[in-house]
Amino acid sequence: MDYNSNLESYVRQWAEKQPDKTAVICDSETITYGQLWQQVTEHSRDYQQAEGRAVVIRSTQSIFFLVQYFAAHLAGKAFVPLEENCTDARLSSIQHEVNACSIPGNVADILYTTGTTGQQKGIMISHKAIMADAGNLISAMQFAEDLLFIISGPLNHIGSLSKIWPTVMAGATLCITPGMKDMNQFLNAFQLPYPKIATFLVPASIRMLLLFARKELCSISDKIDFIETGAAPMPQADMEALCLLLPHARLYNTYASTETGIICTHNYNSDYCVAGCLGRPMPHSSVFITPEGYVACKGDTLMEGYVGDEGLTRNVLHNGTLFTSDCGRIDEQGRLHLTGRIGDIINIGGYKVNPIVVEDVALSFPAVSDCICTPSPHPVLGTVLRLYIVPQSGSEVDKKELSAFLQKKLEQYMIPQFFSIVDHIERTFNGKLNRKYYLTGIK
């Protein structure tokens, strides 16, 4: 593997060596490496003519997304995939932001996420980081040419996007499904005629399958080469249940983020099945714990920085080290264990939500006088958002109207699942929102 190259060179390589090999399957549509490369080169000519350094698009779970992805890179553009239901206003705002900034020439992707800092920022990922991430995953999980990798999550999220990289580098086949809303469509993908099938699932998706598809998981058990999880903590009970259902599969729990790249992983379908254990660093990465107890990462997978914000970048990235907000420890075997997270960021099934963002929008709703957005337990997602609301004097808050209002201004994963009308919000002695109060059980 040539880690100094780029991903597109591998698409071209496989198009030359195995033009008729299936590259991507999506619904009833398939495309070979030869066809993919042809479409990529044609599309890249359009991007070369387009103004600006970046290509900003709404992601779709489709073969065309991949054509756009590789074509943008080939044309020397940075690729900026936004969520599928992104509003015109948000797309326009981000287009404006990236066009106004200087984007280094080595930047391949800009992914917008809340991430470590709690603010929605564009995170720049270089071609070198992509190759290093791909190399890490290939080395750790043994991606091979005869593998079918099923992607069911949103392609604008690092968890799913990063699986394109090792699959293409290894000359394997991708299968894109539209998400876990229709579990049957996801499970049917395992009937495709491939000797080895793997996938990435966030813990919430695994919980859904454990709740509703145990029989189906059993029936496809022998076909599953490996399942990787990450983005959010996975409960011990779910890990053990999955190990029992899939005794022959490798089951990985991975430590990664948009800012750090893919860092550590651990096969918990082994004699060491412990929640919070994310394993040892992969070949192109290293990790250590700061004196304050936070996880810090080094290596070729780190982000280039936050687009247009050198100050914010310097806060978390300096001396070749990315300082995260995750609390952790390294055990005597060199395995990383996560023990928590500082700050108020709420992890919703892998998406990081800054509650202040939700509260700010909610406070702009006329009938809301005060509010606080808190994590709330959920039997599948683990954690969802609850918004406690104090209505304006003499007003009533219509929850449906408020939810619809929030949906116009926030991304879907930031919309609270629960709304509670209360007569006051708990604050600390100095008037700040008392978030700890709302963490101690159901209020």
Binding site: G179, M180, K181, D182, M183, N184, L187, A204, S205, M208, L209, L211, F212, A213, K215, E216, G349, P379, V380, L381, V384, K399, K400, S403, A404, Q412, Q417
Partner: protein
């Protein structure tokens, strides 16, 4: 929030919505719902969900 009166309920739902419906119905009616029940057809409208639950209750009573 999802419009339960919609004729396109399934398309308005996300995976959390589907899961919530399945879990709520399972708990409320004491029926076992599985992935194979959570089809776009069964969850298309409120009426189709009602029909699915009635079918499950009928099977349960016959057992």
């Amino acid at each position: 929030m999802v419009d339960l009166e919609s004729d396109f309920l399934f398309s308005d739902l996300d995976s959390l919505g589907v899961t919530t419906i399945l879990m709520t119905l399972s708990a409320e009616y004491g029926i076992e719902l599985e992935a194979k029940d959570a089809t776009p057809k069964n969850l298309k409208t409120l009426d189709s969900i009602v029909a699915m639950v009635e079918e499950k209750l009928k099977v349960k009573s016959e057992e």
